[in-house]
Structures are given as structure tokens and as C-alpha cells.
Symmetry: C3
């Protein structure tokens, strides 16, 4: 069986819990399927199980390891949206692109380390080939509600 | 008739006026059709009817409502590019993705409210389903010519 | 012969040298081909021939011309990734989108001028029609390892 066909099972083995599927903060959809082939995800925030957001700026309120955990939490929120939208993580063939934005101080330089928190989760769920796509990681001066990371993505569907 | 088939008419009813189709600030095309199916729009600026740009930083020179109006103006500039490129707003089937960047102070946290200025316009023109796609809204530390918002988008064509 | 069919030759005539194909700074792939039709490139850094990175903030450590050279160097690094991934620059049909992020001071306003360093290179290699696509240029408050520019792109393949 290909890795992606048991993504739900592989996620189950992580022992992690999905937060509730997020409610949009503005006029947009969390996910959109295009031509039945591509899945676009809106910028996702680090939503926790109690629906509260992880907040703060990396390099000021959070160190880089806390930032990485926030990126994993944004990744978990993305998985929650995918399950809500498609019914199963198994419907994803592979990651095309991840765009990770870190709300951080101007002197911060470890954006790839932070966004790996999300990328490692995706690699666990969909495998080290299909779960790893292209990516950009950048630093931004502010994010909605002062969250530390916002991550959007494009996937190819089975 | 589907909503998107009378987008030109729905826009006419808003009473809003399109600015002139924008001239690129650098070496790029404002719009590109891919495979006859997708329309990519470059980052668009808030161009006014007299071709001048709305300028200033949100949270410093502009409050969040002025920022939202600037986002609507960037949206109007996008519509102008679409009409210039395709001849009619009716050629758009739906919004796939909007990426909205707000030039704002580091303490600003209402990016979704600002970018709604563009999203509400798109929802009026193409409807609350097809006119609403995925989106990210982020804060950036500077934008070309100190404009308050820059917005890019991908659309699916009919 | 169409312009894109001799992109390798046109690049050769520039007298410029490609840096080594870059190694990812995190868990991602530098390039990914989707459905055999599209090429996604991760955010690329200005890698030099000795593998070192151009560093510094535009408007503080680098002026806008040095920033533009850094954008050209990021573009060269993208070409190196394409050659490594596809074997030849001739496999690219055209540029769909370039997203250029400039690490700069908040008062900097000439982002399009900086990112033209990359766009002019692409126009030389693939021609002024196919080598020029849509684009956004923005200012960000920090980038990995304090590089001045990071650029990602999507191409259509032949």
C-alpha cells in the first residue's frame, strides 16, 4: 500500500489530537478543491483543542522551539480542515507547496527551523516523498491576532 | 442564470467605478491565462481613478477602515485588469485564491478585516460561493511606493 | 525556433555562471514537477559560486542596486535548480508567476526595482513574452540567515 493510502492510520500513530476545524476570520473558505485534482488551503493559524490560538511573536514572546510547536499546531489545524473537507487524509496524493509565514523580530533568522514543525508533521502523515513538497519560509512583521505563524498550502489529490 | 454569468451586470449595480487598468511597475504582466483555464493576477495596488495610488501604512497613516477601503480599491484595480485582459468579468468562473498583504505597524492585528474590503467586492460580483475562495492575509513591513495593501489572486475561468 | 527552445544557449551568451544547485535549509524540495505540466520552485536564496549566501538588509546593509544584484543571484540559483531538476532550461515553456520577497527597512519602497534583477534574467533566458509572467514584490521584516531576497516561482513546462 502506498504511504498516502494510510495517512489516517499514520496520523493516528502520532498520538497527536486534531483541533476543531477552524472557522474563517474573514470572507474566505478554509479549503477549496479545484477541478477535483488540487486542494488549496487558506492561511491557517495555530488553533488549539480548546479553539484558542497560540499567540505571540517569535524572538520576543516565543523562542524558536515554541515557534516550531506553533507551526506544528498550524499543521494540525490544516489536517483538521482537510479531514473536514475531504473526509480523510488519505485523499491527498502529495504536498505541492507550503508557504510559511513567521511573525518574528527583525533579527530572527531561523524561519526554516520553525516551519519544519509543520513539514515534519506532513512527512509523517504522507511520507518523506509525497509528504514533502516545495516551500518558502519568511518573516513577517505582523499576523492576524498576533499569532506566531500562518501557513497555507497546495496539495495534489488522488 | 448562474451568478458568474452576470458579473458585469452585478458590478454595474454597485455604482462603483473601475480605475484605469494598471501599468506594471516592473518587468511583469498584470495578468496571465494558463492553459485557458486559470487566470493569475500579479500583486495589485490600490490605483484610483486619476491613476494615483492610495498611500500610507495601516495603523500609522490609515486606520483599519481606511485600510479596508484601500483593499477594495486594489480589488477594483484587479477587476479593471480582468476586464482589460478578458473583456468581461463574466469569463471568471470562481475565485481560487486571494493573497492579501497589509503594510502595517507591527502591533496591527486586524488583517482579515482589511482584506475583506477586496473579498466583499468579489463576493458581490461573482456571488457568495464562486466569489469566495481560499485566502491568506498577512502583515508586511513595507510595500512598493508605501501603498497600504497589495493583493494577488488566482481565478478559475469558464 | 521558439525562444524557449534555446534557453540554454541564450543563458550561455550572458557570460554569467550558475551557482551549485542549492541544498534545502529545511524539510522541503527545491523543485517539484506537477502532472508533468507545471514546475514549482521553493523560495530560493542568493547562493554564490562558493556556496556562500549574499547577506544583509536592503536599505541598511545593501543599497537598491546591491539588492537587485542579489535578486539576480537568487534567479541564477533558481536556474541552477531547474537545470539540476530537468536537465535543461529549454524544458520551461514560460514563467507563470514570480513571488519576490525583499528583506528591507520599513521605509524602503523600490521592491519592483530590486526584483527586476531576477525578472530581467528570466526575460533574457526565455524571452520577453514567455520569460515574463505575473509577479508580486513585497517587503518583509526578516528572511532566513538574513539574506536580502528570497524568490519563489511557478513555470509551465513544454
Amino acid at each position: 500500500m502506498d504511504t498516502q493510502h494510510n495517512a489516517d492510520e499514520l496520523f493516528g500513530k502520532t498520538g497527536l489530537t486534531l483541533p476543531p476545524a477552524p472557522v474563517p476570520l474573514g470572507l474566505y473558505k478554509p479549503a477549496l478543491t479545484v477541478e477535483g485534482k488540487y486542494l488549496y488551503l487558506s492561511g491557517h493559524l495555530p488553533v488549539q483543542e480548546d479553539k484558542s490560538l497560540i499567540k505571540g511573536r517569535v524572538g520576543l514572546d516565543l523562542d524558536m522551539d515554541a515557534g516550531k510547536l506553533a507551526a506544528r499546531q498550524a499543521g494540525l489545524t490544516m489536517l483538521s480542515t482537510i479531514k473536514n473537507h475531504l473526509g480523510s487524509l488519505n485523499k491527498v496524493k502529495r504536498v505541492i507547496k507550503v508557504f510559511g509565514m513567521v511573525n518574528c523580530t527583525p533579527d530572527f533568522a531561523k524561519h526554516p527551523y520553525v516551519i519544519n514543525g509543520c513539514s515534519e508533521l506532513f512527512a509523517t502523515v504522507w511520507g518523506t516523498d509525497n509528504g514533502v513538497g516545495t516551500r518558502s519560509a519568511i518573516g513577517v512583521s505582523s499576523l492576524p491576532d498576533n499569532i506566531p505563524v500562518e501557513i497555507e498550502a497546495i496539495f495534489e489529490l488522488i
